[in-house]
Point group: C2
Chain length 453, copies 2
Amino acid sequence: MTVLNAPVDFSGYMTERAKRRQKSPLKSLIKYIFMPDMVSLGGGCSKSTSEDGVEEGDLLVLTREGQKESSVEPLDRLLQYGGGLGIKSMMDFFTQHMEQIHSPKYEGWSIVPSVGSTDALGKAIDLFANEGDPILVAEWTYPTAIETIHQIGLEFVTVQIDSEGMIPSSLDHVCTNWSGSSPLRLIYVIPTGQNPTGATMSLSRRTEFYKVCQKHDLIIIEDDPYYFLQFANIPVVDSVQETQQLFPQLPGIHNLVPSLLSLDTDGRVIRLDTFSKLLAPNLRYGWITAQFPLIEKIMFHNENSVQQPSGFTQGLSSKLLTECWGPSGFLEHVLFLQKEYLVRRNALVSSIQKHVGNMVSLTIPTSGMFVWLKINLSPSQLATPGIMDQIFESMVSHNVLLVPGCMFSPVSDNNLVKDEPYLRAAFSYTTLDQLEDSAIRLAAALSSFGLSK
Amino acid sequence: MTVLNAPVDFSGYMTERAKRRQKSPLKSLIKYIFMPDMVSLGGGCSKSTSEDGVEEGDLLVLTREGQKESSVEPLDRLLQYGGGLGIKSMMDFFTQHMEQIHSPKYEGWSIVPSVGSTDALGKAIDLFANEGDPILVAEWTYPTAIETIHQIGLEFVTVQIDSEGMIPSSLDHVCTNWSGSSPLRLIYVIPTGQNPTGATMSLSRRTEFYKVCQKHDLIIIEDDPYYFLQFANIPVVDSVQETQQLFPQLPGIHNLVPSLLSLDTDGRVIRLDTFSKLLAPNLRYGWITAQFPLIEKIMFHNENSVQQPSGFTQGLSSKLLTECWGPSGFLEHVLFLQKEYLVRRNALVSSIQKHVGNMVSLTIPTSGMFVWLKINLSPSQLATPGIMDQIFESMVSHNVLLVPGCMFSPVSDNNLVKDEPYLRAAFSYTTLDQLEDSAIRLAAALSSFGLSK
């Protein structure tokens, strides 16, 4: 049996805000409420609508107290106050899920639910960064993360990325040469199907990246919404039929690239998971995994902000995951998603190869929902101010919309990045026919710039 | 027709954080997505589980696209990303509701949903206060608000309260004599059924309070979860039957004390509403009403934190409020709650009057779910350090739990308040039998201190 290490103690790095996050004094009374024979006028619990029987039949079929055997909490419990954690059936699900999929390598990891990874990101940052402090991010990254970090007031420090994501030597270089007044402490990374580049870190890249983070004592915020949307090494083929024949090579849940959390022996990874790409974005339900002292602070932060995800959302998710699906149903659902997205990736990439050809360069994404295109502009075009505005207008006039690269830059002076020759294409939502159409239209939009296949 | 004023411009008071909250640049692309004939590879929307038909029948009866006429958004829409506002049917409901119930008195008020009033409080504070800034609060107030404000790092400045809530002359005195380095800008108030004192501000108290807030240019955070739990002037009577005969005097939704928002001509009130006491606490769904420039900043804050309440929660709430209930059903539900809480208030207060008598003093609450008891200790008992610990232990040994007053104090040095002779009794959740039992047990617990009825 493997003996696991205790995690590194990062409490000395915490913000004063984080240090103030403590158990509510009122919680010390809870033990009295549950004493036998105790009559409590202590709690401010309120009547919930479930108790006057309004929804039954009208709205919702979930479990009511004593109605039937179920691992899902009854409606009365789901709708009552519940602190910063959430319902037990889902906490058990998360624990088993993380053990099975990521098997963390240190003693004392823990989980807290979130209302989605954007809120989770803010809470992870709140642990360690004050306004004005720096954070390491990829040179192209997720706009909502950029906006969230910007609004909190951190300084972006960028790391170069390639087709495998953040480049460890670039990270090492940036950290080694850092001369800011606050130390580099936090790094934000999307390791799988990175938004917007689609890049997925290989295992060796992850290992090397983690070592550099250890060297510079960085705490890693691993934002991994696309983790299950992996396609392994399945090639791009032209037709849906050919793609379908490759389905048996899909990784399911067993042959996925290991997460950074699963390589983390120090407890320096704060991993953000979400149901957004797994069930539905507007569930507003995710979970955070890290060493307990950090998770506990986030739980206290939850108790003084969102409390916990909506009881309906938790109950419905629990019903789906623990009763309707179970482990085999979850695998089946992941495979369903992998098939859906693989078909779309192949449709888009093969259409681009066929119709757009050498007007762009791309790396075939092995995960996620994005293809990152570099437009092969001539040196003189690249030196033309406003060239990307022109290309955008050309796309609009050809009725095709891809997102210009500059939208993904954390650099605050837009003039420095607005003519970077990149476009992000998302293949998650458009129909298969539209995917091919979009490539044809993109080719037309670019050909007016003298580019050719 | 009344001409309404434009609100006062408070933008000069905003924090740098609030000023940074802006529309995401990516949102500028949305207009292109909706152009006719446009094929978009722009959005990062994902497949949602609703599209593979898993929940239908198993879990949830809501509306699916094209299924039938409904004002509630279809499931596909509910489960997709939707920005910082939320679904239209609920935004329409909130607007009509606020117009009907509060009828704001200035031009350009607006609404944004919240995931509950605790999160809303943090976001309202974030607009105007930095760490270290002061905030005015009642000398006894809601523990989760205390904890939230403490963790954010504000300094508490207390205002005295009586049986009608915050005392305007005390507020005026505190503001006039303020000598802190940052100006007093924010005041947090629970005007109806205050937690923990049960105090409800009368109309004249509200008017006077608002004038003092105007005088000192304070922005008012009106946290009003118990607004609909008003009992007007219905007296305490002994039996449930007698109470039932008084039900016709309940205010319903038409004879409620006006909110501070409804008196606000300047746009200086940020009103927090929630479904927690109206439908169920763990819905995690509320709404914030204030002048548009403040609401817009909170919407941007939502977009970079919680996004919006869970789609399930919004959809189920919309189904309930706009389809199942409608206006008459809402009134009926409010009356149901007022009846439930009135019966409980009368049961508890009459039991205390009968069994505890002059051992305590209390003001009969005209709203909410709390009774605030002052224990009539002798001067020498009041001068005994640890007296309230002894009373707490006596309560526990008599199997009755009320919350000691010190738990509701924002004063950080617990020694200064721990022997204040107050107890909060909540009558929201205990059964009627238990309410009488609790009074009998409390009497026994207190009688061992030489107190008598």
